[in-house]
């Protein structure tokens, strides 16, 4: 597959300014994020790199409305999320954000199609669950339960579930962390393809530096700070990544 040129930057969808996150655990104070500013643009595929404890998950949680920053501001388009209530954050996640987790987190009592339908049931203008599953190449395994699917298949169901509601933002936390190299490539390929075909702004968190090459931009974090921002001239095709 030829490499795709990085897209020209569109409008920022998410805009984070001077985010700080401080955890106080008894007498120990941990600064998980220190003055992080970051934009996620429309259609962009962003890869967040960093070692364990670098603050990348904390950042992703705040961007996804799962957590709130101790200071700084976060805007989704023109809506301020820094001061949103729990209920508003839930609504934000419900309407605009898709999540993909390291351990898939599928509902074991529902089939692949039903897992996707669970989300499309509450979405405003979702795809048909069958279409979402076709997009990740799983139309033939729709009626299987999670226990009957391989790890890679389960993760692809999770991606279908995340994109079926046509979110503006797709956040993936170590989506290949539990997979072997071959399956990991397959899943990354699906994420890249979805980003390309649906134009969903996508952020992938990983500790695997090689994955950075598939993104439009790469942000490297360490000790709660952004230490490097790189804009790739072109996205590398997934099958060329050295795992």
């Amino acid at each position: 597959m030829p490499p795709h040129p990085s897209l020209p930057l569109g409008q920022p969808v998410l805009c984070a300014q001077h985010l700080c996150k401080r955890y106080e655990m008894g007498e120990v104070v941990v600064d998980a994020l220190r003055d992080v500013s970051l934009d996620l643009h429309a259609g962009e595929l962003l890869v967040l790199l960093g070692a364990s404890g670098s603050g990348k998950s904390t950042l992703l949680n705040i961007l996804g409305g799962l957590d709130v920053a101790s200071s700084g501001s976060l805007h989704f388009r023109d809506r301020c999320l820094s001061s949103a209530s729990t209920h508003e954050l839930t609504q934000y996640r419900r309407d605009h954000v898709g999540f993909v987790f390291q351990f898939y987190n599928l509902i074991s009592s529902l089939t692949a199609r039903e897992n996707v339908a669970l989300v499309t049931d509450i979405a405003r203008s979702p795809m048909r669950p069958e279409d979402a599953l076709a997009l990740v190449g799983l139309e033939a395994r729709m009626n299987h339960f999670p226990a009957q699917l391989s790890g890679g298949e389960q993760q692809r169901v999770a991606i279908a579930r995340a994109i079926a509601k046509r979110p503006q933002i797709l956040l993936c936390d170590e989506p290949t962390g539990a997979l072997d190299a071959r399956t990991g490539r397959l899943v990354l390929g699906v994420l890249e393809q979805v980003n390309r075909e649906t134009g969903t702004s996508t952020a992938i968190i990983t500790h695997n530096a090689a994955i950075g090459a598939i993104g439009d931009s790469v942000v490297r974090m360490s000790s709660g700070e952004i230490v490097e921002r790189v804009r790739n001239p072109a996205r590398m095709a997934v099958e060329h990544i050295e795992w």
Binding site: T90, Y92, R93, R94, N105, D121
Partner: protein, 800 residues
Amino acid sequence: MVSRAVPFAARLRLLVLHRKLLRECWHMKGQLLSIALVVATGIMTVVTMRGSYEALVDAQQRYYNQMRFADVWSSLRRAPDAVLEQIERIPGVALADVRVSLLATLDLEGVDAPAQGRFVSLPETGRPVLNDLLLTRGRLVAPGAPDEVVISEKFALARGLQPGDTLRAIINGRARTLEVVGMAISPEHSYAVPPGSLLPEDERYGILWMGRRALGPAYDMDGAFNEAFVKLAPGANELEVIARLNEVLAPYGGFGAYPRRDQASHMMLQGELDQNRVMGTAMPAIFLGVAVFLLHLVLGRLITTQRGEIAVLKAFGYRDWEVGRHFLQFAVLAVLLGAAIGTVGGWYLGGAYIGIYRQYFDLPGLEYRLSPALLLLALGVSVAGACSGALGAVRKAVALPPAEAMRPEPPARFEPGPFERLGLGRLLPSAGRMILRNVERKPLQAFFSSLGVAFSTAILIIGLFMYDGVLHMIDLQFRQIQREDITVSFLQNVSGAARHELARLEGVTRVETYRIAPARLRHGHYSRETAIQGMEPDGELRRIVTAGGRVQRLPAEGLVLSRILAERLHVQVGDVLSVEMLEGRRQTTSAPVVGIIDDFLGVSAYMALPALHRLSGEEDVISGAYLGVISAQQQTLYRELKQVPAVAGVASPVSMLASFEREMASNIFISVGFLVGFASVIAVGVIYNGARIALSERGRELASLRVMGFHRREVAVLLLGEQGLVTLFAIPLGGVIGYALAWLMVSSLQTDTFRIPYVITAQTFLSAALVTVLAAALSALAVRRRLDSMDLISVLKTRE
């Protein structure tokens, strides 16, 4: 090799495991407590009910022995004292005694209605051979003293009488002033019901013991007696003694001897004791059953979440039994905690429970005692039950090889259940399918959960239905059968002409006369002494009403029997009974059974008055009358009737009903309170634990749904829907169990005195369902709070 030489290390190791146990218990304190409460309630019911049962039986036996309570009882018209020797000679008789006993009107200050006293003779010297009395204050009557009486304690308390006070009685038409010299109790009068009434009325009915010489002449009983008692020799044949006693007393107007079990006070007490024994066995069994199930559930889950830790312990060299014991200790801890709460609670409740019994039955020396043997038994059963519940789960944990146990448990396997295979699944939204599949995946667990909750509904139904039954019975008795304003009973039968005199009294609007005729009914080799009630065939005030509320017209000829009497005599409508009248000419004739009615109080045989007269070969005689009275003139009428020497008593169904309903109202709150508490403990125990386990099993799934934008309410529905389904299924199931248990109770608690009607109102069922739903909802709410405060990020970070 670890040898016996290092006990310290072993001790230290155990200490660490104990610490782990304690911390886990603290972590699961809600679940531990809810199980402990179920165990506590089980032990509490054992300690309270079984404990009071033992205390009551013990007190009853001691009291009966001390008072030489008779085994066989008989009353008769009049026999000379010499007949006593004949009675003593009957084979199987160890002791015999005779006495004079009669009803007389008491003229009490401040009571318009005539009150009644049962006068019982005391020997001039010494104590009665049988049926002694226990003096609680004052002294016995002095030999030969003509006007001294000892009165029953309850009557004294109700009337505020004390030794030294006087009261007036109309004995044999003569007013006499009697001096109270003492107060006493006796087992035969512990439940003193005046004739014609259904309940004790201590305000207007008392027992008065008087010297034989003082009482004898009053009713022409000098040198004669009208009551005889027998104490059986060990191994004696009761039926034979009764038959012989009847033979001996027949020439003297014997009304038929009966065994102790038909004696009114004994029957009431024994009925209570029987009920206590049944409940004291059934209730703890239900609670322990639920506790076993809960322990199984919770421990099973605890062990599943600790697979890895079990593997590590075993990898370090812990033996299987050490690991197993560690988890069993959780069960034992729950039981011990429950036992502690249950013992203290049961001890306290038992005291209160016995206090209630003391109000109704005066049993001297009745004290609640907690017997260590009983407590040990309850504890042993609980520990055994809990351990057996936990054992299955523990065995599973111990059997796991360490290497396998260290791997996470494979994901739960699901498949469409029977409901969906029928194609009905498409009707459900995803959430509904999720709930349904969770239930279908562990159908046994869901069934037992439902069964547990069903018992909570059932307990409420059987508790509340007793009141339904009693209220139904009361309504039937006082509003449909006894519609008279006043019941007048005469000291002895009088001419039917008395009805005209009654009708002339001011305020009387209607008079219906009745006759009570003691008789022995025989059918084949079955026989039964009873009283035939002769009633006016077209009576409006007193009617025969069946259980279904239908008014039964009294046919011109033949007998209408209570179903229980018909069953005892093995007769059906159309059969002919031999009737031996036990008063008047005492002739034996026969009468057909023309009707059988389902009724709830007493054992009755009804007959139209003219037919009864023909049967007994007597002219128009009556025992009393039912009066319709203008209510404004009722008090004046009472005062007037009080002056009539022939009148033994005047009863008012309305006042009887009022006192009954007062008593019911005070009792209902206490017992319903307990029932609601007991039922809630079960419902909370099952639902709370079920929901907590579901939360721990599916917390991760639910957290990911929250991340994906599901609101708290939506996620709560997914978690608690399963418990909702369990509760929904439990309520009709509980209805079925409750109805069945109620039926069992109705059929096992059938006595001659009363039968509980099998009536369960919709309100009872709805109240039971409501309490169960509320208890379940509260438990669900407690778990929902946990769900709401779930830390989404940390739940998602860790892999199980």
